[in-house]
């Protein structure tokens, strides 16, 4: 039993937008794997709900003629993981979503919810940053598109305004074609856990040299982040021990791990560096195998 005080079952995206705009306390409920946990914990901020589960158009996963991939905000983790398009073009999404919760959670949870709740630890956030998701949002003033870069504004905070609904993610071809991307989740147990540190690596190589490195982290700063210093430091270099050293040195300026009872700052920083080295080394090895 949950202390739900107000409940609206949205009949269309516009209806959902209006219902949300009309009640400043209203929250979207999709898979419910975050919202119901908070309600169970007695958080009255979630007592007024707009249920979007009837909006089947938000479940769609497709590719358009230009090669853009669209993932509906309401597609569950399992649906995305099992989709051929995603497996073929953006396997890092499959890998990342596979680390969320357990099978039952993944059957309910959506990637839309994972990104929109603004969690610093969101397992899909590294993939979103590496593949540079665009977010198709419907709001009171109509449709708009936001980039994932800058979408997260703080712990639990995003650019979304009251009345906004995420409809779909868009991934453009330059951001996934030829990109060797992978995710490492470092957590205290192998399932049903939030990341202590999450690390995403996206690599394109030009012969033996790094053409572009995209390095993303969760729980390494107040929002999921890309590491611009580290990325620049290793551009156009071969993946050598020296490059890995440069990577971790530069990385220190990109991250701001916090000290908490869950894990100490020094420990987090050690893991951040270890994952970055390991991620780049493994990506380079995989690249070598492919060529």
């Amino acid at each position: 039993m949950f202390p739900i005080e107000k409940y609206h079952y949205a009949s269309s995206v516009i209806d959902a937008v209006q219902a949300l705009a009309a009640d400043e306390k209203a929250r979207v409920i999709a898979g419910g794997t975050d919202v119901l946990v908070r309600l169970h914990g007695g958080n009255s901020d979630y007592a007024s709900l707009v249920d979007v589960n009837g909006l089947h158009e938000l479940k769609e996963i497709r590719q358009d003629g230009e090669g853009n991939i669209f993932i509906g905000a309401l597609a569950t983790c399992t649906e995305i993981i099992e989709h051929e398009l995603i497996q073929k073009h953006t396997p890092m999404i499959v890998q990342s979503l596979g680390t969320i919760g357990g099978p039952q959670v993944r059957n309910c949870a959506t990637m839309g919810g994972n990104i929109c709740n603004g969690a610093v630890s969101a397992d899909s956030a590294c993939a979103a940053l590496i593949y540079e998701f665009d977010l198709l949002i419907e709001g009171v003033k109509g449709e708009r598109i936001e980039s994932i870069n800058g979408f997260h504004t703080g712990p639990g905070r995003t650019l979304l305004q009251q009345g906004d609904i995420l409809k779909a993610f868009r991934i453009r071809p330059p951001n996934y074609k030829g990109v060797l991307a992978s995710y490492q989740k470092y957590a205290m147990r192998g399932a049903m856990d939030i990341a202590t540190i999450g690390c995403g690596v996206g690599l394109t190589m030009d012969d033996e040299r790094i053409s572009t490195l995209k390095l993303a982290f969760t729980v390494a700063a107040p929002t999921p982040i890309r590491c611009s210093n580290a990325e620049k430091a290793v551009a156009n270099r071969a993946v050598t021990e020296e490059t890995l050293e440069l990577l971790t040195e530069a990385l220190v300026d990109d991250v701001r791990p916090r000290e908490s009872w869950r894990a100490g700052k020094e420990f987090r920083l050690h893991i951040i560096k270890t994952l970055a080295r390991k991620g780049l080394r493994q990506a380079a090895e995989m690249q070598e195998e492919l060529t």
Partner: protein, 760 residues
């Protein structure tokens, strides 16, 4: 032969098809729901409580505070009553308190028509607190001038004993002495079924309580003490239960639901804890500091063990000082040739109350003991398995607790078997010189345990057998089935002795203190060991009566008859069926002149305590950079006497091993030492391992026959969870050269130690 075979468990079909009914599956018309108001601070006095806003909500029936509850302090530990006042449990609880002792303590309770209303009203009860200084850990709680958590101060008891000889003489004979200090965290039981209970009045003065408890008969007594009622006026019913691991070997909700129904005109009132409440506001495993000193002579003989335990029992005593003392006395069975000096101190602190948990203090003690044993062996250059074999108990050794010489002892065989199964010798060589961030290591640790609580407590068990009209038998036992499989094992024993098929025995699993034979309950790995004599004697008795009725029917001398597989035969000639049991049963009930209902009932006390033994062998890999441990192979080898049900035994061992691995590598309840605030009282932040974190678990048994049990069996419920911690710790040391004297050995802890050792 019914004993020794993996028959279909009595409870399994109903459980896997969802037909089993647990406490929460029962409901009564008009049943009310109760919800506690819990303290948000760890140590405080309640200055005032305003219940008006809560009472104003529609559907709220009543709100009670400390001012409303009886002023009898009562104990909660699930021990049988002791005739010796000095051995009785500490009585330090009231139903509700005005002196808050931990974050989550119970200051008021709301009763409403449903749970949501009760929860909402509970949030509206306004409590004014005067905060007191907080002490969380042992040093703070035992410091001079520490704030007193109970009248009389924070130290509950400090005791010691020596056994096996004169300690000072043994100390002189040791040439190498090693000492270490070890710490263990607060661990939670995490049984599947949360605590839940309801109560109603049957008539004007009889109370009925239905509860998920391991100890129905003890529960009856404690509710009587808490409410100052004669014990027989209280009836406790235990349906099937979804696990307890010792957390339900304590009386937690029952006195409250009993109190509430008496206040509300006998209406049924139910309390069901949410998971998060259940984690912090029931009982925990004691956090302990274990100091061990061990000395060996030149030839590698262990001369003495000096063990000291400081045990933090938290806000209320619960099982309190019994925990370290029980572990101490059971540990003496492992190396009986060494002189042991054991001392322990138990104290209060502003953390959740610790009580009984599977293996009852032994995992903590053996973490220290078997780590130091490893260190002594290495210090004198002896292989650690060889060292254990040289010093372990053998058949005929004097066992400290009861002085008995006649038990089965196969500790050495367990070590030999484990060594072979894990290819100890060849892998030791293979892992001798390693480099790089991935390091393999081997570890071993032994344990000893008891079978029950004798001579510390009474060991009493009961069995009643009734021959039904169709020749089947209804069996009632005092033993409490809590998922461990006691119904099945005891049915096997009855079938074996009686001479009927296992399927012919129906166990009445529900416990009802008004009708079931007396037995204090499921704890101390006692049920099959102490119930075996009652079952055996009852079955013999019933058989004798059946053969006696056969004589009435046929005139045959019972001395020439036997019962085999449900048929009365001529002794020595199984093919000569005199009468079928079905026919005999009908005759006994319905013949107009002869016989009567054939029953047998026995209550038996056990005055022995068979030691059980075993060990864990582990092969693991440490990723130094990632600060992680992955177990490649882990094996538990047990001497539990005769194995009654091989498949259940294996399951019991697997469950225990998973729990032991959780304790070694994952689990700890974290409490802020400054405020007493509990950080991780939920299953996301309390890292009980999941199925993907537990490696393949292997078990093996050295079958022995303990002569003190009619069926040769010894304990197996708790022993599987004892030795993983030290075995894993020893293997990490073997792999990395780093000794970690604290659990859980999580990545955070490994990081700290690897950094200190210069590995990263």
């Amino acid at each position: 032969m019914a004993v020794g075979q993996s028959h279909i468990r009595k409870d399994v079909r109903a459980k896997v098809t969802g037909k089993t009914r647990y406490t929460d599956d029962f409901s009564m018309p008009g049943m009310l729901q109760a919800k506690y108001v819990r303290s948000p601070v760890a140590h405080a006095l309640v200055k005032s409580i305003d219940t008006s806003a809560a009472l104003a909500i529609s559907g709220v029936e009543a709100v009670f505070t400390h001012a409303d509850v009886p002023k009898n302090v009562y104990p909660t530990a699930g021990h049988p009553f002791s005739l010796d006042p000095d051995h009785q449990d500490v009585a330090d609880r009231l139903l509700l308190t005005d002196h808050v002792r931990f974050h989550g303590d119970e200051v008021a309770i709301v009763v409403a028509r449903d749970l949501l209303t009760a929860a909402k009203a509970a949030q509206l009860v306004k409590v004014e607190y005067e905060e007191l200084p907080v002490c969380v850990n042992s040093a703070a709680a035992m410091a001079e001038g520490a704030p007193a958590i109970h009248d009389g101060g924070n130290i509950i008891k400090s005791t010691s004993f020596e056994t096996g000889g004169t300690f000072s003489d043994a100390e002189k004979k040791a040439v190498t002495v090693v000492e270490g200090s070890f710490s263990t965290p607060i661990i939670l039981h995490c049984h599947l079924e949360n605590h839940t209970a309801y109560a109603y009045m049957d008539d004007n003065d009889h109370l009925v309580i239905v509860s998920s408890t391991q100890i129905p008969h003890i529960c009856r007594r404690i509710v009587g003490q808490a409410l100052d009622m004669p014990w027989p006026k209280i009836r406790v019913i235990k349906p099937y239960i979804g696990g307890g691991f010792g957390n339900k070997q304590d009386v937690v909700l029952e006195p409250m639901v009993a109190f509430l129904t008496t206040k509300l005109g006998g209406l049924p009132v139910k309390l069901e804890l949410e998971r998060e409440e259940g984690l912090v506001a029931t009982r925990t495993r004691h956090s302990q500091t274990v100091t061990v000193r061990a000395g060996v002579s030149r030839d590698g003989t262990l001369k003495f063990l000096d063990l000291n335990v400081i045990s933090n029992t938290g806000a209320y005593a619960s099982h309190g000082h019994s925990i370290p003392m029980a572990a101490g006395s059971k540990s003496c069975n492992l190396y009986p040739k060494a002189v042991t000096r054991f001392s322990a101190t138990t104290h209060y602190a502003n953390i959740p109350a610790a009580g009984a948990m599977r293996a009852y203090g032994s995992p903590q003690l053996f973490f220290g003991l078997e780590s130091v044993i490893e260190e002594v062996a290495r210090e004198i250059g002896m292989d650690s398995v060889d060292f254990r074999i040289k010093n372990s108990a053998r058949a005929g050794d004097i066992l400290a607790k009861t002085g008995d010489l006649k038990h089965s002892v196969a500790m050495i065989e367990c070590l030999e078997k484990g060594r072979e199964l894990i290819s100890w010798d060849s892998r030791k060589k293979q892992y001798a010189d390693q480099q790089g961030p991935l390091l393999r290591g081997l570890g071993v640790a032994s344990f000893s345990y008891g079978s029950g609580t004798y001579p510390a407590c009474v060991e009493i068990a009961g069995c009643r057998l009734v021959l039904n009209q169709d020749g089947t038998i209804h069996m009632q036992i005092g033993a409490t089935e809590i998922g461990q499989g006691s119904d099945t094992a005891l049915a096997q024993m009855a079938a074996e002795t009686l001479g009927v098929e296992y399927q012919a025995i129906h166990v009445v699993s529900e416990q009802d203190t008004d009708v079931t034979p007396f037995d204090p309950g499921a704890y101390a790995s006692r049920q099959t060991y102490v119930t075996a004599p009652a079952v055996q004697q009852a079955a013999e008795k019933l058989k004798k009566r059946i053969l006696g009725h056969c004589q009435l029917m046929t005139g045959e001398d019972p001395g020439n008859l036997d019962l085999q597989l449900g048929k009365i035969i001529q002794r020595g000639s199984p093919e000569k069926v005199v009468v079928d049991l079905t026919e005999l049963a009908l005759d006994s009930y319905y013949h107009k002149e002869r016989g009567g209902q054939i029953t047998a009932e026995v209550s038996a006390k056990t005055c022995t305590n068979a030691p059980s033994y075993g060990c864990t062998f582990v092969d693991l890999e440490v990723d130094v950079e990632m600060c992680t441990v992955s177990i490649h192979e882990i094996i538990n080898v047990h001497d539990a006497g005769k194995i009654i049900h091989p498949l259940s035994a294996e399951g019991q061992v697997h469950g225990g091993m998973a729990m032991g691995i959780g304790m070694a590598l994952f689990e700890e309840l974290l409490v802020d030492p400054e405020s007493g605030w509990i950080f991780n009282g939920n299953l996301l932040d309390y890292k009980i391992p999941t199925s993907v974190d537990i490696p393949e678990l292997k078990s093996a048994f050295v079958d022995t026959f303990d002569p003190t049990s009619p069926y040769g069996n010894k304990s197996l419920g708790e022993p599987p969870a004892i030795s993983q911690g030290p075995a894993i710790r020893n293997a990490i040391w073997d792999a990395t050269g780093v000794k970690i004297n604290e659990i859980p050995m999580t990545p955070k802890v490994l990081f700290k130690h690897f950094k200190d050792a210069g590995l990263i």
